[in-house]
Symmetry: C2
Subunit: 159 residues, 2 copies
DNA sequence: CGTGAAAATGGGATTAA
DNA sequence: TTAATCCCATTTTCACG
């Protein structure tokens, strides 16, 4: 899973298409990039085996499942000792309402993105994840009023 | 596409599975949730017709495509007049390196998440998107050192 | 990489409950 | 009405050229 894949133009075209709709048939993909279905199959298999494609997933609208509120949070920890850092990290990752978690350099240490039912729900989670942890110095809550762009569409320019 | 879908337990189970891997065959899904393949087919169709499932997509590792650096940015605008706000919004959404864009309440106005080649690349984008816009008062850059969780896995608890 | 055949899957119609 | 069974068109996938 290390170094091998120098993606060629076909790979990039396929990735662009498949990022947008991974249900296109391999024949259809082949037609669009001028390749046989078999070739498309082989490339797609290689791309997912190599981990270039992390996974094929259905993207669900969170509000359809009862989580209409997206909240961005900056978290600063008290103590950056590795084991303590690891403990908070794990508690964030375990929480199903933490949709994304980034470890960042600078004054704050984490950026989290929550999908929650409502403010009460979020408040309960802050208690659980921040106050009870005893290693969160401060956190800053940014309530979103619009998820303007959420796709993970990665640009596929030439190398 | 409005109100109809009271998701039952089967729907939620299917969504949980399909969020993680939308290439599971309908037979396989049926086996896991104790439903026939045909029933799975109908439910999945309804869920995507209703917009509960936004789309089926392949998630690509950005660094495989040459964008190893993830950067979170808080942006505060100068003037919140609706047309000016709309102009900056559009410029953010048009930028392919802006992977996510949230409109937030409070002191700052937007949170952006970039996928870029390196710091030079990011610097060039800040010039283009922030300095040249004349409506960005200030922005705060948070350089990430780890994308610890990026999935949009929506929890599927009972209603 | 492309071709073609074999295997698997998708998705509709029909029947049963 | 909803699910299970069957059936055929489509798709995937493999061996070979």
């Amino acid at each position: 899973m290390a170094t091998t894949p120098p993606l060629d133009s076909y790979d990039r075209q396929l990735l662009a298409l498949v990022q947008d709709d991974c249900r296109l048939s391999q024949a259809e993909l082949g037609a669009r990039v001028h390749l046989s279905a078999a070739a498309v199959n082989r490339r797609l298999k290689r791309l997912s085996d190599d981990g270039v494609i992390e996974r094929f997933s259905a993207q669900v609208r969170p509000d359809a499942l009862g989580y209409p509120l997206t909240i961005v949070v900056e978290v600063q920890v008290e103590n950056e000792r590795i084991d303590l850092l690891d403990a908070v990290t794990q508690s964030f990752l375990r929480c199903p309402f933490v949709q994304q978690c980034y470890y960042v350099a600078g004054e704050c240490d984490f950026v989290l993105i929550f999908a929650v039912r409502d403010m009460d729900h979020y408040t309960a989670l802050t208690r659980e994840l921040f106050y009870d942890s005893h290693n969160v110095k401060r956190f800053k809550t940014l309530v979103t009023m619009g998820r303007l762009k959420t796709g993970m569409q990665v640009p596929v320019a030439e190398s």
